[in-house]
């Protein structure tokens, strides 16, 4: 799988994504510099990594969406190319209109870094097809603006169309307010577009994919993508 990892000024999970894709999963990776508008048609996957692009100034992702590289990413996505946005990458996907809704400040008003559980809501997407349906993955979060919001009508629309991929849950897969770390509506942790080729999620699958740690739940997402290319 040929992967492009976008580097914005302030990206800081770019090297982590590269470590997992290249060193752990033996995939081909390339850096994509934010100032470059380039043809991405030869890529199988574009990753928008986590971090604080442009220092999260104004609003997380709000400035990055105007980077020249985003024109290429939007074109790539419109042509059916697969785009994975993690954390700040998810925020940028929302700001650039590739995914619906918005991410607001956590309801705790604090940055939260810890392991959480998410339940796989559908396996009928390129990002989750190697996961088990309704299985529970343990994946870390690390964000300050991760409280997903969308109006109730659009939320049920997303649910009906199978666009919600992950919801925050407890260790057994139960969903409640106490298992929702940031106050996201519907406990949404990750979703995709209607065409199912663009996915954004707040948890960091690259942080639980290196077998040096006991937990490699994050690998199932990358393996889903690899199996199609």
């Amino acid at each position: 799988m040929k992967c492009g990892i976008v580097v914005f000024p302030g990206s800081n999970c770019d090297h982590d994504c590269n470590h997992i894709l290249k060193k752990i999963l033996n995939q081909e990776t390339h850096w994509l510099w934010h100032k470059d508008e380039v043809d991405l048609s030869s890529f199988d996957l574009i990753v928008l990594p986590g971090g604080f692009s442009y220092g999260d100034y104004l609003r997380a992702g709000a400035i990055s969406r105007f980077s020249p590289v985003m024109n290429s990413v939007i074109r790539f996505a419109e042509n059916g190319g697969k785009v994975l946005g993690i954390c700040n990458g998810f925020q940028i996907l929302l700001e650039s209109g590739l995914l619906p809704g918005a991410l607001m400040q956590n309801h705790t008003r604090k940055f939260i870094c810890k392991n959480v559980y998410v339940r796989v809501e559908t396996t009928s997407t390129p990002f989750t097809q190697k996961c088990n349906d309704k299985s529970v993955l343990e994946i870390p979060i690390a964000h300050h603006q991760g409280s997903y919001y969308i109006d109730p009508h659009s939320l049920s629309d997303l649910e009906e169309k199978g666009q919600i991929l992950f919801r925050y849950c407890d260790a057994k897969g139960g969903i409640s307010e106490s298992s929702n770390p940031n106050g996201s509506v519907g406990s949404v942790a990750g979703l995709c577009n209607e065409q199912k080729n663009v996915m954004g999620m707040m948890p960091h699958p690259e942080r639980c994919a290196d077998p040096l740690w006991a937990n490699i739940d994050g690998q199932s997402i990358f393996q889903s993508l690899i199996s199609q290319s």
Binding site: P9, G10, N12, C13, H15, D16, H19, I20, G50, G51, F52, Y54, G55, D56, Y57, K110, F111, I112, C113, K114, P140, A142, H144, A171, H204, E206, R207, D210, L212, W213
Partner: protein, 745 residues
């Protein structure tokens, strides 16, 4: 240019210089300084920059060892870890700014220590913070705690450097003067370490990073080098303002530039800004510097040479590069969107000449400025308070029949309770190296492309240091290395941050001298070189000094990543063992403070030989794969150490049953803080092997109980002493700090 003020004795005094010091300036340069030059002497001869009170004592610290590539004197210390890599680390205080403006004070402390590390050519890979606040009832404590943690989080998280550990303490001695000590560790190629030097004549001085503004002027000299009083609030403008986004860009750009051989030297602009970076670089290379301040990128109009030179605007670096490579450097900096300008060149004059708008505004020799401050021979005198509180009569101390009340009070007290509320606000996982997450004895960071890992711990029990600064500082070294050992690492280096009161008082200098001697002797005995450090004096408000707080951070090396140990019990049915033995010691303990509100007596005795054996034994058990967990016994004693291993088991706590036989008082046995003790757990079938190994050292070892069940039960001589439901206890331990921090008053 505006007219400069006339030099009067009042102006000299306002610059923190004594009349003796002013006379020395006249003697050294043979003429009166102009206003700008006076400003330069003021910052360079400040306590913060010159170490004039502390330097004579610091010579007692051992700084050499086979792994040491760079000891004290540079921006940070460097230790060789093999495989072509070196770790670069240092701890530094940002106490006074954080008390005045907690968010920015703490944030810029983190930024400053990171620059010290990447200035040396190392990529910062881990941060830790040692934080000390006043008592919980002090009105400002909650505000300061929230502000400091928020400041550290906002800066560290944004730069993508994980904050992997630290310590948080509360004591009334910090009510008027909190401590924020920030530690950073970086990884570099052992043969690509950059020093702050200027090199040959004609080399270019390259200014990189944020534009210079009027912030932080006299931050180091006047804010950090005097006590707090009623006017302290007025010094708020001396606190710098940080921009972590620029810092992140600066890290990437600097490390990219440092790949090239035409980079001669690098120095960050920290305390005393452009002044100290230019004078120190020139001085270290026995060279001179010629600079034109008109070329410095400025944030505001109308800045004077005085302001430009003394500004402590953050996120700025000074590079020295060989001529002919200006455009290559500019291209890299432009790529990262950073300001840059060639502002001068290296000369052979042994002096610094500074021009502004076509006029020479400074012409000073480097030696007097950098090294001319007189070492002050501060007087020392043993403080009288020691006679009053130095003895604790245990017979007068009521002994409870059961330990349940003390146990539940201790697990809820903020010095012992889980620090989860703090570290969950820090990104402690980014960069995919954190093998052991916060909450264990030490943080463990893997070194990519090798089999190795490093363990980090920062420690100081300042109550012990108050009761006996010599023993207290030695205990800090012992405890920090014990923590690193409990993670499976061999201690290889240490950095210190010496936080004390006003050095003009002989009692404070006595504490300082004792602590430095205790630390030096312990480092010598345990063979741990001190490679970097920082001294923070004047930590007092209206005459009330903090407890002496010589914070130490020990770095340990783990040769094999798969042999990492953690503090939590792993499964039910394991045996619990105690390495070391318990004495009847309650002096300076958390128990004495929490239950009786007293800090008295002698700190626990530290038997260095025994300590070393305990550590070596524990390390051998880990390396041979014989044990499941190892946890240092510290604040709260044996009962709390075992309970912490229960709480840290996994998601759900694991109970334990302890059966102790002893003639000691029950409270001393369970809550006393005797040194050189480690709690381990292991499968029952390995008991004989472990006991046999203990005998061969010899080191005291006893089987004290078993893991499992839903209760935490302790009996002494067959009599039940504590029985608590482990999940409820864990809930108290886990949530008490967050509940306090989140309360709105």
């Amino acid at each position: 240019m505006q007219n400069e003020p006339e030099i009067t004795s009042q102006l000299v005094k306002d610059h923190g210089l004594t009349s003796d010091e002013y006379r020395r300036i006249l003697d050294l340069i043979g003429r009166p300084p102009n206003f700008t030059e006076l400003g330069i002497f003021s910052v360079m001869w400040s306590e913060h920059c010159s170490y004039k009170s502390s330097r004579p004592f610091l010579k007692k610290l051992p700084t050499e060892g086979p792994r040491v590539l760079q000891g004290p004197g540079e921006n940070a210390g460097v230790i060789d870890i093999g495989d072509g890599f070196a770790v670069v680390f240092k701890i530094e205080s940002h106490n006074h700014p954080s008390f005045i403006e907690p968010h920015q004070g703490a944030a810029t402390g983190v930024g400053g220590i990171m620059r010290d590390v990447f200035t040396m050519g190392a990529r910062p890979i881990a941060l830790m913070d040692s934080l000390r606040f006043g008592e919980l009832d002090e009105p400002r404590t909650r505000f300061l705690l929230n502000g400091v943690v928020d400041g550290i989080a906002s800066y560290g998280n944004c730069t993508g450097v994980p904050t992997v550990g630290g310590e948080v303490y509360f004591d009334s001695c910090y009510n008027g003067n909190i401590l924020v000590n920030a530690f950073c560790l970086g990884l570099a190629k052992a043969d690509r370490i950059f020093l702050a030097k200027a090199g040959g004549v004609g080399n270019r001085i390259l200014y990189v990073g944020s534009k210079t503004g009027r912030d932080g002027i006299h931050g180091a000299s006047l804010l950090a080098s005097s006590e707090f009083d009623e006017t302290t609030e007025d010094k708020r403008p001396t606190v710098q303002v940080g921009d972590p986004f620029t810092e992140k860009l600066l890290i990437e750009a600097c490390l990219e530039i440092m790949e090239f051989s035409w980079v001669v030297g690098v120095q960050d602009m920290g305390a005393a800004g452009l002044t100290s970076s230019s004078f120190e670089m020139a001085h270290r290379s026995h060279a001179g510097v010629n600079m034109d301040l008109s070329k410095v990128p400025l944030r505001e109009e109308g800045m004077t040479p005085y302001e430009i030179l003394l500004s402590e605007s953050q996120e700025r670096m000074l590079f020295v590069i060989e001529p002919g490579h200006e455009e290559e450097a500019a291209a890299i900096l432009e790529k990262w969107g950073l300001d840059a300008a060639i502002i001068g060149e290296v000369t052979d004059e042994l002096g610094v000449r500074i021009h502004f708008e076509g006029k020479e505004v400074v012409n000073l020799p480097t030696l007097p400025v950098v090294d001319g401050a007189l070492d002050l021979k501060r007087e020392t005198e043993r403080p009288e308070y020691l006679d009053k509180i130095g003895h604790l009569n245990l017979k007068e101390l009521p002994e409870p029949a059961r330990g349940d009340k003390a146990f539940t009070k201790l697990i809820a007290c903020p010095n012992i309770a889980s620090k989860e509320w703090v570290y969950e606000q820090y990104d402690h996982m980014v960069r995919l190296n954190t093998l052991v997450l916060p909450g264990s004895d030490a943080a463990v960071i893997r070194i990519k492309d090798t089999k190795k890992a490093v363990a980090l711990s920062v420690d100081c029990n300042s109550r012990f240091c108050y009761l006996d600064p010599y023993e207290g500082a030695a205990i800090a070294v012992a405890e920090s290395s014990r923590n690193v050992v409990c993670s499976g690492a061999t201690p290889i280096g240490l950095t210190n941050c010496l936080n004390f009161g006003n050095p003009e008082k002989p009692e404070i200098m006595w504490q300082f001298e004792q602590a430095v001697c205790g630390m030096g002797d312990a480092c010598l005995y345990f063979d741990i070189p001190v490679v970097s450090g920082n001294v923070s004096l004047y930590n007092e408000t209206k005459g009330e000094a903090i407890f002496p707080t010589p914070t130490v951070a020990v770095v340990g090396l783990i040769e094999d990543q798969s042999k990492v140990m953690t503090a939590g019990f792993k499964q039910a049915g394991d045996c619990i063992g105690l390495i070391g033995f318990t004495m009847e010691e309650l002096g300076g303990s958390e128990y004495l403070k929490v239950l009786f509100d007293r800090n008295e007596g002698k700190p626990p005795v530290l038997d260095r030989k025994h300590e070393k054996q305990v550590q070596e034994f524990c390390l051998e058990l880990i390396q041979k794969g014989l044990i499941q967990s190892a946890h240092d016994c510290s604040e709260g004693g044996l009962a709390i150490a075992v309970a912490e291993s229960c709480f840290s088991a996994k998601e759900e706590a694991l109970g334990a049953t302890l059966e102790l036989e002893s003639t000691l008082r029950g409270d001393a046995l369970l809550f006393g803080e005797t040194q050189s003790r480690i709690i381990i757990s292991f499968p029952e079938e390995l008991t004989d092997q472990i006991e046999g190994l203990a005998l061969s050292y010899p080191v005291d070892f006893s089987l004290i109980g078993k893991t499992g069940g839903s209760q935490f039960t302790v009996s002494i001589n067959g009599q039940e002493y504590i029985k608590q439901d482990i999940e409820s206890a864990k809930e108290i331990w886990k949530t008490s700090l967050g509940r306090y921090a989140g309360q709105t008053t």
